[in-house]
């Protein structure tokens, strides 16, 4: 009744333990017929390899690498913190984590860092970076080396990444749009859109989803063109101030990017702050405070802790060629308002 072991398989397949071992670990030197017999026995008994025992025997250490930009956005800091936290409890699951930082918006430096990784010191890579041709090539190289790759937060769909850990950003944008429309309510107003960069796939997708919903369900609200701030506080401040001066019909501001500090600062000091619906992404100290102060109306977020743990689980599974539990790895689009802010 207890779970079957390799010995049970050997017995029912009528072969020795060594042969079972060869089959399971895909070592050469076994006739196809014998492989089939062993496989049948595995199937029949419902054998599941005891990963913990295997890892013990093999002195397994998962050496994982997170690759992050040094963008001056609190979200990236939060991600970094989550990685650190995961690291401290990761001794328990044989996982060692390194963080590689590359200069924001410098794919060249990123590629250089990726080049330094090889299969004999790395068992998995989680990347949060924009998709450029160079990055694509670097990822292809890593894959060719047999290293599992997951994309983090912003997907890299045209690369050979094994998995994407993050939210559906189109749906996230739609969510923001729905709330913006419902919260503004009134007609004849307009919404300002602030993005980090139109290079970042996640930003573009969110904007797309936002526009879809606004067009479908709230056509009376005008959505203004995206303004890029490149995660620069000074730029943000200028853009927002100017806009609020120039157009008095602004009823909402949607911050698409990862940073909202400057935006919150400007709005906090502005006379019209009560009349503006503010929706941003990512729960950080800044957005948290803004929610608490009734300055911000909703934050669309993704749990960085989940993201990090999921990335590590997926990378470990890929590294062992194991399946993943899909339902556990779905990252939710969280809507955070003042009341469910814990």
């Amino acid at each position: 009744m207890a779970r079957p072991t390799v010995n049970d398989i050997a017995k029912t397949a009528g072969v020795s333990l060594a042969t079972v071992d060869r089959v399971i670990n895909m070592r050469p030197g076994v006739r196809e017929k014998t492989v089939a017999r062993v496989s049948a026995a595995i199937e029949q008994l419902g054998y599941v390899r005891d990963v913990t025992a295997a890892n013990l025997a093999r002195q397994r250490l998962y050496r994982m690498v997170f690759v992050l930009p040094d963008a001056p956005a609190l979200f990236v800091d939060a991600l970094r913190d989550a990685i650190s936290e995961a690291t401290s409890s990761s001794i328990a699951d044989r996982t060692e984590v390194r963080i590689i930082t590359f200069p924001n918006g410098n794919p060249h430096a990123l590629v250089k860092s990726l080049r330094a990784l090889s299969a004999d010191d790395t068992d998995g890579v989680a990347i949060f970076a924009p998709e450029t041709p160079h990055v694509r090539d670097a990822i292809a190289r890593l894959k060719a080396d047999g290293i599992p790759i997951v994309a983090l937060v912003s997907d890299l769909p045209n690369t050979e990444r094994d998995h994407f850990v993050g939210i559906d950003n189109i749906a996230a944008g739609r969510t923001a749009g729905f709330l913006m429309g419902k919260f503004i309510g009134k007609t004849g107003s307009s919404v300002m859109i602030l993005v980090s960069s139109l290079q970042a796939r996640d930003n573009v997708e969110r904007r797309l989803g936002f526009d879809q919903v606004m067009a479908e369900s709230f056509p009376q609200i005008e959505v203004l063109p995206s303004l890029e701030n490149h995660d620069d506080d000074a730029v943000t401040e200028r853009l927002v101030s100017e806009m609020l001066e120039r157009r008095h019909d602004i009823a909402g501001i949607y911050s698409v990017g990862h940073g909202s500090r400057a935006l919150v600062d400007v709005v906090r000091e502005h006379e019209r702050r009560k009349g503006i619906t503010l929706i941003a992404h990512e729960l950080t100290q800044v957005t948290r405070e803004a929610l608490h102060d009734n300055l911000m109306d909703a934050v669309i977020s993704q749990d960085v802790g989940h993201i990090v743990r999921s990335a590590l689980r997926v990378l470990r599974a890929k590294s062992d060629r194991r399946d993943i539990v899909q339902s556990q790895e779905r990252i939710r689009i969280e809507i955070v308002i003042r009341e469910n802010l814990t």
Copy 2:
């Protein structure tokens, strides 16, 4: 640099492996002074017991029990499904799961089931049940037997449960209230409240939170007294139909309990359905469809998968007297709308 083992501790503490083992597993026969020496070495080296190796050596099997009502609510079914799903992948982590069902609203039967559990066939119990004096006693008995207990979904704060896995239901009610107020917007309207039972702590807490927010932020909206449906579809149907006939100022319905099937059915067929803001709890097939059909405006939910996995993690940890990673065990109050419904 690799993680230290018991042997390393023995060496640095200047004792034998057997003594280290006695200390770690709290077996008797070691002088206090020696215990201190060993503890110091553990501290110094940052030793963390390899739980996987320990479980292997000890042939550990975690025998967990979930105790659930047979309430005819889809949420309970979803919970049951989540447990089944967790069970299938639980072979990997040495966990065996049993589900005990008790007749809804019959604490006597529940207590009888609990009485049958003992420490030599159970390593942990997760309970979803209302807190009654009998239940309190039964839990006290289990605790006296040394069995870890977690409360599921609805807290049992006046018992000796080790942990609560679920959301802050007052905050959940506040969340519902905030959205209800924002979505209704207009003045001079009223909101109907439907609860499962005023015995269920989670229902009461949600109602409380809802009232708080409505009073604070939306005083122009009248909140009607709670109507109990005892999870009975026929009762629900009657209550809702009558109310919609009698009062034409109903602008919103808040379904506090775990079941919303009958409510959705009634509203779906009603002529005023477009004019009513519907907010319910728990994402199930019914609420999912209602969201999709624009019949329901928001669902406040908690991820049953997370709940089950968290309960199992916590019970395993308690059973081993290990600490839990708080941040990983917090269950979020999820706001689900049409757009972030995946």
